[in-house]
């Protein structure tokens, strides 16, 4: 049952990601990205991370992707012209780059495989309070540092977007 669900949503996820690249219209790409994010949320849920699944839907597909579609609608972006946008540098550097990245990642994964833990698909759920205990007690300092980092990023965006006042 869980394995069947896993394969359905994993396939949906990969199909959404491919569709995101192949679609010509930006709004279709944005919608495929939403499909990817929602199927990722289901995969989290299958691994027992229910809070993470809900946060994934609320934050990514509910807030961030709405902003994406908002910007696409506001700019009224039309269909992209494939013939113009294929640059030679991109295809020359892109494919070897992707191959190198995949090789590096699989090398790191295979060499560190012994140290990585495993988890099973199934009924066990991590409760929200257990997650909060890890996040706000054991990993408090990294968590707070990350939030400061995000705050700095927001301030930077505001500073860049602000008009010069004369």
């Amino acid at each position: 049952m869980y394995v069947v669900l896993f394969f359905i949503f994993a396939a949906l996820c990969v199909a959404g990601a491919l569709n995101l690249l192949l679609q010509r219209h930006p709004i279709n790409s944005a919608l495929s990205l939403i499909v990817v994010m929602v199927s990722l949320a289901v995969l989290y849920l299958l691994l027992g991370a229910e809070f993470l699944a809900a946060a994934q839907v609320i934050v990514y597909s509910g807030a961030i992707m709405v902003l994406f579609t908002f910007v696409i609608m506001l700019l009224n972006a039309g269909e992209e012209d494939r013939a113009k946008s294929t640059s030679r540098v991109a295809s020359a550097a892109g494919f070897p780059g992707v191959v190198a990245l995949v090789c590096l990642l699989s090398y790191v994964y295979l060499s560190e495989k012994v140290h990585l833990g495993t988890t099973a698909l199934g009924d066990q759920l991590v409760s929200t309070s257990a997650l909060a205990r890890v996040l706000f007690r054991d990993l408090l300092l990294p968590f707070e540092v990350t939030s400061v980092l995000i705050l700095i990023a927001i301030l930077g965006a505001v500073a860049l977007a602000r008009k010069e006042q004369n």
């Binding site: 229910e50 809070f51 709405v66 579609t69």
Partner: protein, 354 residues
């Protein structure tokens, strides 16, 4: 019969019953709104179809079914058709995690909810946040400037008020120590009215923030700028007709009912009676004792729906800049202050009585 078969069968029956009741409630909320707004504006409201106009929803539904389904030539078809489906599907899904009565199981299946989820509150927030796409895409796919402006307003408004909405619920979650809706109600059911989050939990500020943010989330007056008829024709659903328009209409009222349900569950004790133990627990036999809580729940939800209509009949619409500054500069800081004050209160209480 095996347990999984019984579970599936009972779940399907529950879904069918809740869906029928929910859709009927949606239809009669529309009638209630037309009647009450009519009386507020010194006229009768619908009164011709059936006794007191009670069959008006049936006539409206029939009319919308039989109208011609126009498809403008310049629309982007896949999204134009998908948008009302997304809006209605998300609105109807959110009722699935709402519990509306106490624990009473039959063959190991809970009778008075469709699904009892540990993170029920987050599921409701997540499903309603996905529902934004119905409105956003409808305006864009219509290829109409009024529709586009309406849906741009809607998405900006929903993103802005979702923050205040989420933050206003934190106090309630802190008191219950759980995101499960049944736990949140159980915390409030000890001493009737006095232990409700609104009174005993001291969450009245949180409640008013929730109420205002929820009115904005459901695009209701005074926050109905996405469909401001004097500026935008009908906003995001200008190009829709027949059943597609009806789906948006139903989604709006279904969302209203969900908001009323959540307000009841989180701040007004859900299905628990306001009199606490003043009423005997087994009043009038086991069947009535099981059904009376549902009566309380429906009564509270009805009061919230009435409040919605009352507000619509009373308040004028916000201006757009007022809407934004109200959400970001007033509701957001107030919600954060509410969280800080609530957590300080809980910390003080636990140090007094450890």
């Amino acid at each position: 019969m095996s347990t999984i078969l019984i579970f599936t069968l009972l779940s399907l029956i529950k879904i069918a019953v809740v869906l029928v009741i929910y859709l009927t409630a949606v239809a009669y909320t529309v009638l209630l709104e037309r009647k009450v707004v009519g009386r507020i504006q010194n006229r009768w409201g619908p009164s011709r179809v059936g006794p007191f106009g009670l069959l008006q929803p049936l006539a409206d539904g029939l009319k919308l079914f039989l109208k011609e389904d126009l498809l403008p030539t310049e629309v982007y078809r896949p999204l134009y058709i998908a948008a009302p489906v997304i809006a209605l599907a998300c609105a109807l899904t959110s009722i699935a995690v709402v519990p509306f009565g106490g624990m009473s199981s039959f063959h190991g299946v809970q009778l008075f909810d469709i699904a009892d989820v540990n993170i029920g509150l987050l599921v409701i927030l997540g499903v309603t946040s996905v529902g934004v796409y119905g409105i956003a895409l409808s305006g864009w796919a219509s290829n109409n400037k009024y529709s586009l402006l309406g849906s741009l307003r809607a998405s900006a408004q929903l993103i802005s008020y979702e923050l205040a909405l989420g933050l206003s619920l934190v106090g309630v979650v802190m008191r219950a120590g759980s995101l499960r809706l049944r736990d949140i109600v159980d915390v409030q059911s000890a001493h009737g009215l006095l232990s409700w989050n609104f009174f005993g939990g001291l969450q009245f500020v949180g409640f008013f923030i929730y109420l205002m943010a929820a009115y904005a989330e459901t695009n209701r007056t005074p926050f109905d700028l996405p469909e401001a008829e004097s500026e935008l024709a009908a906003g995001y659903h200008t190009e829709y007709s027949s059943m597609k328009f009806a789906m948006f209409f139903m989604a709006e009222y279904a969302n209203m009912i969900t908001v009323a349900c959540v307000a009841t569950l989180l701040f007004f004790g859900g299905w628990s009676s306001p009199f606490g133990h003043l009423l005997p627990d087994n009043l009038g036999g086991p069947v009535i004792a099981a059904l009376l809580p549902i009566g309380w729940f429906v009564f509270k939800v009805f009061l919230f729906l009435f409040l919605y209509i009352w507000v619509r009949g009373t308040l004028p619409r916000f201006r757009y800049d007022q809407l934004m500054s109200f959400g970001w500069k007033f509701l957001m800081p107030l919600a954060v202050l509410n969280i800080v004050a609530t957590s300080l209160w809980f910390a003080w209480r636990t140090t007094l009585h450890p």
